[in-house]
Amino acid sequence: MKTIFVFLFLSYVSLLFESTWCIFCNLYFLHIDPLPALICWLSLKEDFWPGTLAVTICGLMACLFSCLKFFLFPLAYLIGFFTVYFIRVNMLELSKLQAYLITGFISIEILVVQLAGSGSPELLWPWGLIQAVINFVIAPVVFWACNRCLALLSDMVARFRHEKGN
């Protein structure tokens, strides 16, 4: 539950940041997008159904900040979530670097769905791939922020319970 709370909170904050503070700092078709890394982080921590629900909510939130076709964001994010979840459950225990690499790979998948769905698939080369590299580079920062937030929240909850017990 705490993981989902941290995920949704940071998703909303990053959506607000992307849509307000990054107004004119996009470089061509590139921007700083922490959402693929957030989805990857959640996929490595959360169970199937709660994770699916959280990613769907995150996708629906993203729809509110964009003019892209409805359901394009939830669809792209859910495919990303399912991919990483499947790898985690059935294949291997991911190291940190592998987790960051996976963020880059699911970024490509997310962009394929979004670009094709919005009628601009030709932008995948080279912009989509460069964006995936950027997402891979910022993934350690996002993972660190998520883990830090989760630790803070866990600490707060433990303290609250302790005080309530006393």
Binding site: L15, L16, E18, S19, T20, W21, C22, I23, F24, N26, Y28, F29, L30, H31, D33, A62, L64, F65, S66, C67, L68, K69, F70, F71, L75, Q114, L115, S118, G119, S120, L123, W127, Q131
Partner: protein, 283 residues
């Protein structure tokens, strides 16, 4: 025997997954079949709430930018002063000729009994956010249905046409800029009336497409709206030609790059044209 409830539970899970996927496919099919996007009331409320937060967050950002711009301005003030003096002299000449044109225009308007263009109903708005998909040049402004704003209304800013409204909620609207990848505007070259369609290149420029090879287009030519698209009134400034190329041998049309007149990157305040069609007085 003990495995039977487990098998049953797995079966239910499989059915659930298949049902979810079918539902998803159904929703996507419906979404694809619906050509005009319908905004649900709940979505509208959520968009308004987000708009308020974006509006609040955009204030410190614009202040920071003002400070930065003031610093840059100070650096360039000497050079600019000289350039501006030269431009002033040139503009004075132009103003004289425009005055003549204005007087002539008034006379013609009186003859036609058409109301003056100042009768256009407009509403001023502030840019508060942008689209999270970086390949879409779409911004959010702080006026909506409550202010009488509807889809397809033209949006102007300092310099010229900025774009058109594509989506509205109660207090906020989304504007597709003329540089957007999906933007198409009927345009003409002011000097020789050559018609074309102005397409956004997705970054910061535009392309004037469908102008036949052989038509004389020069760098610096002014491009204005043609009014043929039924959305934008005729004569709004779009930009200036910055590049003319013959294109490939197989191409039927020229390649014409256009620099938008509107300051796409610096825009903070915009003007929405609520009604722009000239009204003819009834006899």
């Amino acid at each position: 025997m003990a495995n039977q409830p487990q098998k049953k539970s797995r079966g239910i899970k499989k059915v659930l997954i298949v049902a979810t996927l079918l539902l998803l496919a159904g929703i996507l099919t419906l979404a694809a079949l619906t050509k005009t996007r319908v905004i649900l009331p709940a979505e509208m409320v959520l968009k308004d709430t987000n708009g308020r937060i974006q509006s609040f967050l955009s204030v410190p950002f614009s202040r920071l930018r003002l400070i930065w711009e003031a610093y840059i301005d100070l650096q360039n003030v000497k050079e600019e002063n000289q350039v501006l003096k030269a431009q002033l002299a040139q503009l004075e000449n132009e103003i004289t000729s425009y005055r003549e044109a204005l007087i002539e225009n008034r006379r013609l308007r009186q003859l036609l009994d058409i109301k003056n263009s100042s009768d256009w109903k407009t509403v001023v708005a502030r840019v508060i956010g942008t689209d999270i998909a970086p390949w879409r040049a779409v911004v959010t402004i702080d006026v909506g249905k409550r202010d009488g704003v509807k889809a397809d209304m033209p949006v102007l800013c300092q310099g010229g046409l900025l774009g058109r409204i594509i989506e509205t909620s109660m207090s906020y609207s989304k504007v597709m800029l003329l540089t957007d990848y999906h933007s198409r505007i009927g345009a003409i070259v002011q000097r020789n009336r050559a018609r074309g369609i102005l397409k956004g290149d997705g970054t910061r420029g535009c392309i004037l497409d469908y102008v036949k090879k052989g038509i004389d287009i020069q760098v610096g030519d002014t491009v204005i709206t043609s009014g043929l698209d039924g959305i934008f009134p005729k004569g709004l400034l779009l930009g200036k030609v910055k590049l003319v190329g013959p294109g490939d041998r197989s191409d039927l049309f020229q390649f014409i790059g256009v620099e938008p007149a509107a300051s796409i990157e610096d825009t903070e305040e915009v003007l929405v044209l609520k009604s722009h069609l000239p009204k003819i007085k009834k006899q």
